[in-house]
């Protein structure tokens, strides 16, 4: 019986009447001259459950129809039913390669909505975490991009280094990936003792490893052949599509929210925004690799800043941030605050805010509408992956199948980020 049910479920899927796709595919597909091929959702190099319906003439792409929604988890709707503090945990699951960025943008929206001040030290810690997240995400990107192109070893090297970052995240939050370390008003707890030495070790170790990756790829003729001139996005097209992040900067558009509207402590540090000039897969690779080097330098500056930063690791506003455990035994007020915060949560005014930060993938924005109560009326995330996927059908036109894989890798998408 179970099998029967499965069969019917499969049959209820789109049955492939090509006339439905009229206008999206070429005329030749309707006559059966070209081949329709499903790439994904269960495909090793669509970076998640992305489905591309490809129309192929031999190996060449005639048309490409991206189909998303296979990883829809209803996070935005779920957050509406949760208090603000609990919502943070859900944001981790959106862009699962850069959870801290999601935490950050959500918390920044909340802080803006409630006018909550964050002490300087917390800001610096957040900056360090965000840059580590950027490294984490770029490492996964580089590894998967390389293995998509057949360079298997780079993948494992990247994950070896990523492991160190995940270890540090575990020190911070007790969790390797979905740490929810950044909370409204600051961070969950102060930096543990072992974190700074571990970070120092990593910073000393990592730049040489970037050199290693570059030695394997940057001047490799096969790599250059596979990437240069492939998947070109022109700057005006990129802006029209709303592409952001390294993918936009590879097209030569100087747009980095860390520079244009500095948040956290980014304004204090000097760093370059690497730009490409051709907008192809190779430039997107170069831009991200340079960004990794910049991130390392930002973290170094932030570490120096950390020693002078004032304030604690989170706000002292007891209406929003729970009191430390040590106070609970002595202060009745602390107990009340604690109880209120962990049962009811804090309230935010009936107003709307939009905050955007530079996630590793591009601009991640959070639109937040409060109700005056303890839950938001509407939360919406503007995520880079969705936009990058929507541009895929334009970018992949007249390329080969192998290039599609390279392009998907190069615009760096995460389907959790796209579908939410």
């Amino acid at each position: 019986m179970a099998n029967m049910a499965m069969t019917t479920a499969a049959q209820n899927e789109w049955q492939g009447d090509l006339s439905e796709l009229k206008g999206l595919v070429s005329e030749r597909a309707l006559t059966g001259e070209t081949m329709m091929l499903n790439m994904g959702p269960h495909h090793p190099s669509t970076h998640g459950v992305l489905r591309l319906l490809l129309e192929l003439d031999g190996e060449e792409i005639v048309s490409c129809i991206p189909d998303v929604g296979y990883l829809h988890t209803g996070i935005e709707k779920n957050i509406e039913a949760k208090t603000y503090e609990k919502g943070v945990t859900l944001t981790d699951r959106m862009d699962y390669l850069a959870p801290m960025s999601n935490n950050m943008v959500f918390c920044m929206a909340i802080e803006k909505l409630t006018d909550l001040d964050v002490p300087e030290r917390a800001q610096v810690i957040r900056t360090i975490c965000l840059e580590l997240t950027r490294l984490n995400s770029h490492l996964v990107w580089l590894g998967t991009h390389a293995i998509d192109m057949g360079a298997m070893s780079v993948f494992l090297y990247c994950f070896r280094e990523r492991e160190m970052i995940l270890d540090m995240f575990e020190m911070l939050s007790g969790q390797r990936m979905m740490g929810s370390y950044i909370r409204p008003g600051g961070v969950w707890r102060d930096l543990p003792q072992e974190f700074l030495p571990a970070l120092e070790t990593f910073l000393n170790y990592f730049p040489a490893k970037i050199d290693d990756y570059e030695r394997l790829l940057t001047n490799n003729p096969v790599w250059i052949d596979r990437t240069q001139g492939i998947g070109v996005i022109e700057p005006d097209v990129a802006l029209a599509y709303g592409i952001t992040g390294p993918s936009l900067r590879a097209s030569g558009v100087n747009w980095d929210i860390r520079k244009t509207s500095p948040y956290l402590t980014y304004g204090h540090y000097s760093f370059d925004v690497p730009l490409g000039e051709h907008g192809d897969v190779y430039d997107r690779y170069i831009v991200r690799v340079r960004e990794m080097r910049e991130s390392v330098s930002i973290i170094r500056q932030a570490l120096k800043h950390l020693t002078q930063a004032s304030g604690g690791f989170r706000s002292n506003n007891r209406k929003f941030v729970p009191p430390p455990r040590s106070e609970l035994g002595q202060s009745m007020e602390a107990v009340i605050h604690h109880f209120k915060l962990w049962t009811e949560g804090f309230s935010a005014p009936d107003a709307e805010v939009y905050m955007a930060i530079e996630s590793p993938r591009g601009e991640i924005g959070c639109y937040l509408h409060g109700t005056g109560g303890n839950k938001p009326r509407r939360v919406h995330f503007k995520t880079p992956s969705l936009i990058h996927i929507s541009a895929l059908s334009m970018i992949t036109k007249n390329h080969f199948i192998a290039d599609v894989v390279a392009i998907i890798g190069s615009v760096d998408i995460v389907l959790g980020d796209c579908d939410r």
Binding site: E59, A146, G150, M152, L156, Y157, D225, G229, D236
Partner: protein, 438 residues
């Protein structure tokens, strides 16, 4: 949908074991019968003397020889899987198999056992006879190469006078197997893989055969045994380095190993032609590929690095076999190294590399080798040198190396020019950003 119950499965297992036992027992009995007569030296005549039919008696040693030659690569493959995984693990800074047996040595056996008990799925709409024939063909094509491999000065399957052509002929059966598998699976990914094969494997046979012509030219023999014996004075690798390189590159492509692994590109076509195969049939494709890589190593050793030649190889044949294995492993490891370091080509780039670079170079190289060999022969004749040992082979090597250098210079200049043109073209095509805004 439950079709078979478990007891049936045990019954089938029992029947299989019985059949295997009967076959094994029969073989042992046969061997006992033979060795009991103590006539290993001339088996057929001995058997005839013992009242066997002469036709059958002549057939028995052949059968045994075939079995011996064919089982060896199959056994080596089991070890190779472990070697490859360990080697890749070392390159990639991880541990590799280390659980089953000491150093994970038994891992391949465990894998084989697992694959034996895996369900074999035939997709609906597959062309069944062709679908089932493809995996054995794949392995057979590689096994057949071993018929002409000289293991030691005295031990080889058969010394075919046209060994080189035989090798080219049987190696292309693998192409056929891949196309059969890809086409019959009725799967679009498999089909794409199969079509890539048509283009790729077939094309790389040209530089492969062209490079193969060079040892034939130098040895004056097409037999593998003859080619190895001709390298007693000097390995062909030192006489014809370019041919060596060409043969290595094309054989790497023939196997479909990175950077030429686009026929099964797991990130594009998932597994290419063998995507629908499961269980033991998949294992056969897999084994065929592994065996082919090592076989290529063996061929490199035979054709260019002197096969079994080494100190005391004539006196102790086992030592010769040892040398052959060492040299083959050397080439095999280089192949693994390349595989684990390079990204994958795209299909049009692979074709360009072949037709526009490798084929012209291989033709030029062949012409230069022929010319220089003629000059060297003339020189040797006038100087009265007979090539017998290392020193007497030096003049010839020198002449041929000059030929190689000429080829290298021509190729360098030509490729450099072509590269510059292409770069200009690419710079023109490669879009350049003029507007930068913020």
């Amino acid at each position: 949908m439950e079709s078979r119950s478990t007891p049936n499965q045990f019954l089938r297992l029992g029947i299989t074991l019985v059949i295997l036992a009967v076959i094994g027992g029969g073989l042992i009995a046969l061997l006992n019968g033979i060795t009991g007569q103590a006539c290993l030296n001339n088996l057929s005549s001995c058997l005839t003397n013992n009242g066997w039919n002469p036709g059958i008696a002549g057939f028995v040693p052949i059968l045994l020889g075939v079995l011996g030659v064919a089982t060896f690569p199959l056994l080596v493959t089991i070890l190779l899987i472990w070697v490859e995984r360990k080697f890749a693990a070392r390159i990639q800074d991880r541990i590799g198999p280390n659980r089953v047996g000491p150093f994970g040595l038994i891992q391949p056996l465990a894998d084989v056992l697992k694959l034996l008990t895996k369900e074999d799925i035939t997709p609906t709409g597959a062309d069944k006879p062709i679908y089932n024939l493809a995996p054995p063909f794949m392995v057979a094509s590689v096994l057949l190469i071993w018929a002409v491999v000289p293991f030691t000065p005295y031990h080889y399957g058969v010394d075919l006078e046209i060994g080189a052509i035989y090798f080219v002929a049987v190696a292309s059966i693998a192409t056929l197997a891949v196309i059969m598998g890809g086409w019959a699976s009725n799967n679009k990914y498999a089909l794409l893989g199969a079509f890539r094969t048509v283009a790729l494997l077939v094309s790389y046979e040209i530089p492969l055969a062209m490079a193969l012509l060079v040892p034939v030219l130098l040895a004056g023999s097409m037999s593998m045994v003859g080619i190895v014996e001709a390298q007693g004075a000097m390995w062909f690798m030192f006489m014809a380095p370019i041919a060596t390189l060409l043969f290595f590159i094309s054989s790497q492509a023939e196997v479909g190993r990175a950077p030429f692994d686009l026929i099964e590109a797991e990130s594009e076509l998932i597994a290419g032609f063998n995507i629908e195969y499961s269980g033991m049939k998949f294992a056969m494709f897999f084994a065929g590929e592994f065996m082919h890589v090592f076989t290529n190593g063996v061929l490199m050793a035979i054709l260019f690095t002197g096969g079994w030649w080494g100190p005391f190889a004539y006196e102790a044949p086992l030592l010769g076999f040892f040398y052959l294995m060492i040299k083959s492993s050397f080439w095999y490891f280089i192949s693994l190294w390349v595989r684990n370091s390079l990204p994958r080509f795209r299909v049009d780039q692979v074709m360009n590399l072949n037709w526009k670079i490798l084929v012209p170079i291989s033709i030029l190289n062949l012409i230069m080798m022929a010319l220089m060999l003629r000059i060297a022969l003339g020189f040797e004749q006038s100087a009265g040198i007979v090539v017998t040992d290392f020193f007497s082979a030096l003049p010839r090597t020198g002449f041929l190396l000059i030929g190689n250098v000429v080829v290298l210079v021509v190729v360098w200049l030509w490729l450099g020019r072509q590269g510059r043109q292409q770069r200009q073209l690419e710079e023109m095509n490669r879009f350049s950003v003029t507007a930068t805004g913020d």
